[in-house]
């Protein structure tokens, strides 16, 4: 009996170790990729906005790591880590930011508005909350098609919880009892608007009761907590427990986008526990648990990630830009219904 328990514990520990390592490496790759994209933006190499996930990598990576490849994922603007963990190639990010004709969006949309719906990765539109009901629809269709065992996660910020789309979609998921995990990163600011101008409830997690869904509050700066919570929420949804609302407390450690210095962020928040850098916290966790060595994290993995990113950028910079003369100027897939064509 004792041996069985010991084995079980070591097995759980092994799972925890694996997920921590996977999440940490995605966090690191995401941070380095984001930093590189910011540098390219400042060098004038990126057209349009650049949105970073700095300070939100632990939560985002935990979402991605908790999902299976056959699940549905609707990331938001600060989910580089989650995207990588879900399996999005670095190349897709770089191609979309640099506007390569070979990228998933082919220059038609840019930056964080990328995805491949057929692989379960949804490309966000800019209207906040709008992707949640689309995830619902995919889960609903799977139920109608008797596909079982998959879940869908949608990421939002605190600002999106004020939208009608958020309300309609969460209520809809609850009515249909869909396996939706709605992950709210409360990073304390929606662009420049602080939470006290966004909502008046004590905590966003309290909203769950009003929709009849299960809720989970988590410290978004702590990778262990994020992994534990996401694993629980995804597991509950997968097991038929209906929609799960996860609300993480954290702080955006950058501006809204790279044009914004975030000067409005209260220094008291920056100096509080919320202002901890989740990547540093995660590194300490791995060191403390002796799951990875400093050399491994700071040099081997970092260099691997930098190499991967540099290689992707070097490749994409040689790729063709979209050609307006070769562009098919139609939004319809039904060719005979395109005006001016037979």
């Amino acid at each position: 009996m004792l041996q069985a328990v010991t084995e079980l514990c070591s097995e759980t520990a092994e799972v925890a170790r694996e997920s921590h390592l996977a999440a940490f490496r995605c966090m690191l790759r995401a941070r380095l990729l984001d930093d590189k994209l910011a540098a390219l933006y400042r060098a004038g190499k990126i057209h349009g906005g650049v949105f970073l996930g700095r300070g939100q990598e632990a939560l985002s990576a935990a979402v991605g790591v908790s999902l299976n490849k056959t699940d549905v994922f609707a990331p938001l603007i600060r989910d580089t880590a989650g995207r990588l963990a879900f399996g999005e190639p670095v190349l897709d990010a770089v191609r979309t930011y640099l506007g390569s004709a070979l990228g998933p969006m082919r220059g038609r949309d840019g930056n964080v508005h990328r995805g491949t719906p057929r692989t379960g990765l949804l490309p966000m539109i800019s209207h906040l909350g709008a992707m949640v009901s689309v995830v619902n629809g995919m889960l609903f269709a799977r139920r109608l098609n008797r596909v079982t065992g998959t879940v869908g996660a949608a990421c939002l910020g605190d600002g999106a919880t004020s939208t009608g789309a958020f309300h309609e979609a969460l209520n809809q998921a609850a009515v249909e009892q869909l396996p939706l995990i709605l992950v709210v990163a409360n990073n304390q600011y929606a662009y420049s608007t602080p939470t006290e101008r966004q909502f008046a409830c004590h905590d966003l997690v309290d909203k769950a009761a009003g929709y009849g869904v299960e809720s989970h509050a988590v410290d978004g700066t702590d990778l262990t907590e994020c992994l534990r919570t996401m694993s629980l929420a995804v597991g509950r949804a997968r097991a038929g427990g209906g929609p799960q609302l996860v609300v993480a407390q954290l702080l955006r450690l950058c501006g809204h986008a790279e044009h914004d210095d975030g000067a409005y962020v209260d220094p008291r928040l920056k100096n509080s526990a919320l202002g901890r850098d989740c990547l540093k916290v995660a590194r300490e966790i791995l060191l403390r648990r002796q799951w990875a060595e400093a050399h491994q994290m700071d040099e081997v993995w970092r260099e691997e990630a930098v190499g991967e990113i540099d290689q992707a950028i070097a490749l994409v910079q040689r790729e063709p830009a979209p050609d307006p003369f070769a562009e098919e100027w139609t939004a319809l897939s039904t060719r005979h219904l395109i005006e001016g064509q037979e």
């Binding site: 209207h127 629809g137 889960l139 109608l144 098609n145 789309a165 209520n171 939004a331 219904l337």
Partner: protein, 321 residues
Amino acid sequence: MSLTYLDAIREAQAHALRDDPRVFIYGQDVGAFGGAFKATKNLAREFPGRVLDAPISEDAIVGLAVGAAIEGLRPIVEMQFADFSTVGFNQIVNQAATLFWRTQVPCPITVRLPFGGTSGAGPFHSQTPEAIYAHFPGIIVVTPATVEDAYSMLLEAVAIDDPVIFCEHKLLYRHLKANALPTEALPIGKARIARQGRDLTVVAYSAMVQDALEAAVELAAEGWEIEVVDLRSVKPLDTDTVIASVARTGRLLCVGEAWPWGGVTAEVVARVMTEGFGLLDAPPQRLNAKDTPVPFHPNLWAAHRPTVRAIAAAARKILRQ
């Protein structure tokens, strides 16, 4: 056997559900209740689990349909009234209409809009928003004017790989009748000559086709031969058929129930002016509703939209030029 426009819509949906396991219907009260207008009567019973009541959440209704379409299904959404589609507007024009263009994944959703004015319905149950949807790239907008078209175009809409806004006129629901469902039909994108004539082309769509035909009968008594073109779909717009008709008549009146600023009638006139200016013997004219919300009282309502009498009067004016 006598079938109404509403029966045709119900039968088309039954047909689609029967023939294609990918089809499902989602909207407010469409389930056991059979819909506010009974367009889905008994369908929930005949097709268990595939005709579902939705919460009053037009945004999430369309969003769910888009997600289901990504997974390969062919949802039919019923907006209880076209007016309420504005709540789902974002999902229609920004999510559904851009999906294929952005991702190469088609978005085969059909959004049924019970639209158009009926006496007593008032400003929020009477609107005709076809032009707003037609303005956005990536959407097909159809406006059937006959029982046969209501049936065949709805079936075609469900089969189309792009989002279709299906505008079904509430005034025609029980008023229009046919003897049988059609066995063949013109495809979406082709206009129809509803009545042949040589003196004036009246272009209309949806319920206004019936009013234009009545006006043509009235004018025939005065010796005028009016050609009535039923657009059938406002996007794509069959400019060729309109221009060919204007080539025969030399005169154009375009009639719509929607508001006068911009819209389908303005688009038709603009196209005829730019592509068929030399064919015109008189300036083309438009006839639309008044530029106010749709009024409730029958006296006001009847005067707000173009009437048979107003169409005939506008036609006489052009014919005298």
